[in-house]
């Protein structure tokens, strides 16, 4: 069976994919993962996960074009410019 190994370098950091090991069962996977990714104290923790247990999601279709979820849904730059120009001309008018 193939096990994917994720390692955490220091407490609080994200677990990152390191590689995979092949093992006949969980107990062997534990030993192999320790040997490959923990022998020199380079990891504080490992996640050893059977590959088939991983649900992979790759397609992110935005059929409704919900741009209010995204940065590009907000065009502040042009609006801010307009606002600044408006206030600027108002100030000029007041100072007169």
């Amino acid at each position: 069976m193939i096990y994917e190994v994720f390692r955490q370098e220091r407490k609080g950091q994200p677990f990152q994919h390191a590689g995979s090991v092949e093992a006949p069962d969980h107990a062997f996977a534990d030993v192999y993962a320790r040997e490959q990714y923990g022998r020199r104290g380079e990891s504080t923790a490992l996640w050893v996960v059977p590959r088939e247990a991983i649900v992979e999601v790759e397609e992110f279709v935005d059929e409704l074009n919900r741009n209010y979820h995204r940065v590009d849904g907000y065009s502040l730059k042009a609006k801010l410019k307009e606002a600044r120009e408006r206030v600027g001309s108002a100030l000029v008018a007041r100072d007169r």
Binding site: G19, S20, V21, E22, F28, E35, Q36
Partner: protein, 299 residues
Amino acid sequence: MTEREQAFLEYVQSGGQVEVGDWMPDDYRAKLVKFIEMHGNSELMGVLPEREWILRAPTLQRKLALTAKVQDEVGHSQLIYRVVEDLGKPREQCLDDLISGKAKFHNVFHYPTRTWGDVGVIAWLVDAAAIISQKALLKCSYAPYARIMKKICWEESFHILHGRDVVLTLMNGTDEQRELVQEALTRWWGPLMQFHGNPIPKDDDPMYVWRIKSQGNEEARQQFLDGYVPQIWELGLTVPDPKLHENDDGVWEYTEPDWDELLSVVTGHGPKSQDRLDLRRRAREHSAWVRSIVLQQAA
């Protein structure tokens, strides 16, 4: 090349990376398998020259360090074969092809280790040459391979440290010890200069075209010379190449390496090729019972 293959090629050439289940052109997959399998074979065969010195190491500390290096390299081969397996070639088949002589491994592992001086020179300079190639794989277009390379490069840096320490200790010792290192360097220089392969332009190298490697052969060799020749010289060692020097523009000139020797050695005609393959064959037979028990118990 189909439109899809062309798009893939442009994707990897612009720095794109590929994951395990992604679609890839057959030619790309075949090149990956060939390249990565040879790397795995080299890690596995690379422990044999050093293994011969475990029992003869001069101190307990050196014995432990050498054993750890051997363990590291075998670990690398396991990780690398795992990557090859995901590309479609099972590890058992890689091992079959290795011991039958069908598959290749790096030239430097076909030579004898005559003295403890050779052990130092191998760990220092062969590993230095190897780490230059391996660092260039950190950017490999095949991401699972690039990721395991982080761990591999990190461990190789320990080996260089170990090798340099062995060499420095000998160089600070007696005349006889210095002579051991000089003789070893003289023996290894030819194979070291052949290590990075013939200087074909990188754009003609399919491994570069697919961005499996990120640098050309000559680039790697120049980097090796640049980094290590000054370190060799400062110890009072002589590089056995009267032509070797650095030009004003920073490019190293050297005597043309013996490419015929390289070809003959990697096709199994090196001084130790057959002995080492025999040993690997016997080891595989002798350990068959362990594999069968482990697999039975787990089933």
